[in-house]
């Protein structure tokens, strides 16, 4: 990580319950797809907006259904393609479950106040709106979605989820142990644990793996989870950009580090239509800055960028050539 590196500023543009909202990037720690997470599902007695508990490295965090919290009709809870925005709420990491991640709205986009007497009753959770991609996008202040009664429900659900967290921890430890020393017994235990959490497909896979294990099996590396994400170096960044370019992908490549989002690159049909780093919104300058970052992780969130984002294949080709030279020349 370089010394003068600044977190990306602006707003995360997302869709929940079929409607668009923006979240301040300062509170966003990471964006993930639901299928990449290990989730202990909620019990039957929790509020409709409580979607279970997941582990983020060393800390458990609750998953909260944003559409339910706002009060708009939501899709199926925790669909594999749902997006989870890891957000800091009262100093506590929470995962806000949304329909889609749509991109990043720059910091300097003009906004207007929304009358609290018109929108969201009087709780002020939608304080302002800005025009983006030709439509009004309201800002969302998640803290204000919690009335005192709802906050009490949240605290109670956190206490009640302790068993789920312990379960996730035990499974995580067992997985690590199996990665070092696979055993049929271990895989069977893991399958049983998965079943308890309702992860039936994974349980079946573990069951099958247990049957394949020979008593003297040589330890092998644990397969990594699917999805386009991983640690980011300039070389990796170049290769990821090239893959997205050559395969004609649309979506947002997000570079994050613990506790913040460092930058993003927007793709439309393989062409780079935008890039941001810190408060730099010029795509070329932002890409140059992103190539100087160290110690980030990258993640690709597929989806179509905002209408009006015009693909510029010539720019993308030139930039790829430039950054290929840059990476090749690096020590």
């Amino acid at each position: 990580m370089i010394a003068n590196e600044r977190p990306l500023t602006g707003w995360l543009w997302l869709r929940a319950g079929g409607r668009d909202f923006s979240l301040p990037l300062e509170g966003v720690r990471k964006v993930a797809l639901c299928r990449e997470l290990r989730v202990a599902p909620p019990g039957p007695t929790v509020s409709s907006w409580w979607s279970g508990v997941a582990l983020d490295g060393v800390r458990p965090y609750p998953l909260l259904n944003l559409a339910e919290l706002i009060g708009v009709p939501g899709g199926p809870p925790l669909a594999p393609e749902s997006v989870v925005v890891l957000f800091t709420l009262w100093s506590q990491p929470v995962g806000l479950v949304c329909d889609r991640f749509l991109g990043i709205i720059p910091q300097n986009t003009r906004s207007w106040p929304l009358s609290p007497s018109l929108f969201m009753a009087a709780d002020g959770a939608l304080p302002r709106a800005r025009l983006w991609a030709g439509q009004p996008v309201p800002d969302l202040e998640p803290e204000r979605l919690f009335t005192p009664a709802r906050r009490a429900q949240f605290d109670q659900a956190m206490r009640d989820s302790k068993d789920n967290v312990d379960q996730l921890w035990e499974l995580s430890e067992l997985e690590q142990e199996l990665a070092r020393a696979p055993s049929a017994e271990g895989y069977l235990d893991l399958a049983a644990g998965y079943r308890e959490l309702g992860w039936m497909e994974e349980a079946e896979r573990m069951q099958a793996r247990a049957a394949e294990i020979e008593p003297e099996a040589v330890p092998t590396a644990r397969p990594t989870a699917g999805g386009l994400s991983g640690p980011c170096t300039p070389r990796v960044l170049l290769e990821v950009l090239q893959v997205l370019w050559l395969t004609g992908k649309s979506g947002e490549l997000v570079l994050d580090a613990p506790g913040r989002i460092a930058g993003s690159v927007s793709f439309h049909s393989g062409c780079i239509v935008g890039a941001r780093s810190g408060d730099i919104a010029d795509p070329h300058a932002a890409l140059q800055q992103l190539f100087s970052l160290r110690g980030e992780r990258y993640q690709f969130i597929p989806g179509t960028p905002a209408a009006g984002a015009a693909p510029a294949s010539g720019d993308t080709t030139a930039w790829m050539a430039e950054f290929e030279r840059l990476v090749a020349a690096a020590p």
Binding site: R19, S115, L118, F119, M120, L126, R130, L131, G134
Partner: protein
């Protein structure tokens, strides 16, 4: 948008008197008179132009881009608990010599009319008041009350 509305509440019925010209718009079974000095223009509403927002009052239909800024689209029918189909047009509303602050949904473009002799307003608490005395199913848009309501 609330920074552009009057900061002092206007008394009800302001601007209403026989002979005054107002824009008459239709909304379902209602007719609504909008004081001429508050009308900044009319626009068509295309499907999908309105962004609905959650937990709004019955008479708030959502947000709309107008003049490179978001403005609330309001429904007079919702104000008196009447039902009406989705509006096809909207009146751009602004206090005299101020920026527009809201759009009022309508079934069509509307027309300017004179308030007839003998017309008077019934006491109402919302932002539209019923017109009595010669105008059937007609309401007067209380611009001052509406501006105060939007200012929160």
């Amino acid at each position: 948008m609330i920074s552009h509305v009057p900061s002092v509440a206007v008394p009800p019925g302001l601007g209403f008197k026989p002979g005054v010209v107002a824009l008459c718009i239709r909304r379902g079974n209602l007719f609504v008179l909008v004081p001429r000095s508050w009308v900044r223009g009319m626009r068509e509403l295309t499907p999908g132009a309105v962004t609905p927002l959650p937990r709004t009052k019955r008479w708030v239909l959502g947000l709309l881009e107008e003049g490179a800024r978001p403005l609330p689209l309001l429904d007079p029918a919702g104000c008196v608990a009447a039902t009406a189909p989705a509006p096809l047009a909207a009146v751009l509303l602004a206090a005299p010599e101020r920026e527009p602050f809201a759009l009022i949904g309508a079934d069509g473009p509307g027309r300017f009319v004179s308030i007839p002799d003998g017309a008077y307003l019934e006491e109402e608490t919302g932002w539209i008041s019923r017109v009595q005395g010669g105008m059937k199913a007609t309401w007067w848009l209380e611009t001052g009350r509406l501006a105060s309501e939007l200012a929160g």
